[in-house]
């Protein structure tokens, strides 16, 4: 199973180990881990609440992974996205890709996290001392995603 959405934390080493064991032809594994920060635009964040659209989020992530597999020589992909209440420094998301060569592993990992930000139905609410605030898609995230259009 390459996509999991869960409340529980995940262990990066375990997930990397599973990708490593998936094929003797794996020459490189790249992983991205997203963490909760305690500051957002200089405002203190006490915790965040993450929700998703069950069914659609898995479908959207699988579509992004399929697209990455078409663009690069990818042997394995693991995506874990956590939901629920998370505190500063907690892990939110893991994207790990395995390939024979590092170039393909680096590019596919970055592609997947960039598209996850703009195309997968997850929502984050930041709980601050002055109240809760739903985060909106950042322009910088849209720009990062659009770079991949120019390269295709």
């Amino acid at each position: 199973m390459s996509v999991t959405i869960q409340h529980e934390d995940f262990d990066v080493a375990t997930e990397m180990g599973a990708l490593r064991a998936s094929s003797n032809n794996v020459g490189a594994i790249v992983s991205f881990v997203g963490l909760v920060r305690d500051l957002s635009y200089d405002e203190m964040v006490e915790n965040i609440y993450v929700e998703h659209y069950p069914g659609m989020s898995e479908k959207a992530l699988n579509k992004i992974i399929d697209e990455a597999k078409q663009r690069w020589d990818v042997l394995g992909v693991r995506v874990i996205h956590r939901v629920g209440t998370l505190g500063p420094n907690d892990q939110i998301v893991l994207v790990a890709t395995a390939s024979s060569h590092r170039g393909h592993a680096f590019s596919s990992c970055e592609f997947i996290i960039d598209y996850l930000k703009t195309d997968a139905p997850f929502w984050k609410k930041e709980v601050k001392p002055q109240g809760g605030e739903w985060v909106v898609t950042k322009d910088s995230d849209i720009q990062r995603m659009e770079r991949w259009h120019r390269q295709s």
Partner: protein, 84 residues
């Protein structure tokens, strides 16, 4: 026409609703018309459900406001996404 509506993110919180099934009049044929029909409930509905504040999906695919609705569609209305 019966439509199931799911709410996520900010609209779900402000409307205090995660899902509902509605029976819309025959004048409602597109997502944009469904949104306007929901806004006619007034108050918070009118404030929250404007085309520039919410995004939408039909049957788990992102959709435009001009998209046509059909019987038993699953529509989702949500604030801009912000995962990762």
């Amino acid at each position: 026409m019966h439509i199931k509506i799911l709410y996520f993110g900010r609209p779900s919180e402000s409307l205090k609703l995660s899902d509902e099934t509605v029976d819309v009049p025959s004048s409602v044929t597109t997502l944009g018309e469904l949104l306007a029909w929901l806004r006619a409930r007034g108050d918070i509905w009118a404030q929250e459900l404007t085309e520039n504040r919410v995004r939408c999906a039909i049957n788990q695919e992102f959709a435009a406001w001009s998209a046509k609705l059909k019987q038993h569609d699953e529509v989702a209305l949500f604030s801009p996404i912000s995962g990762g």
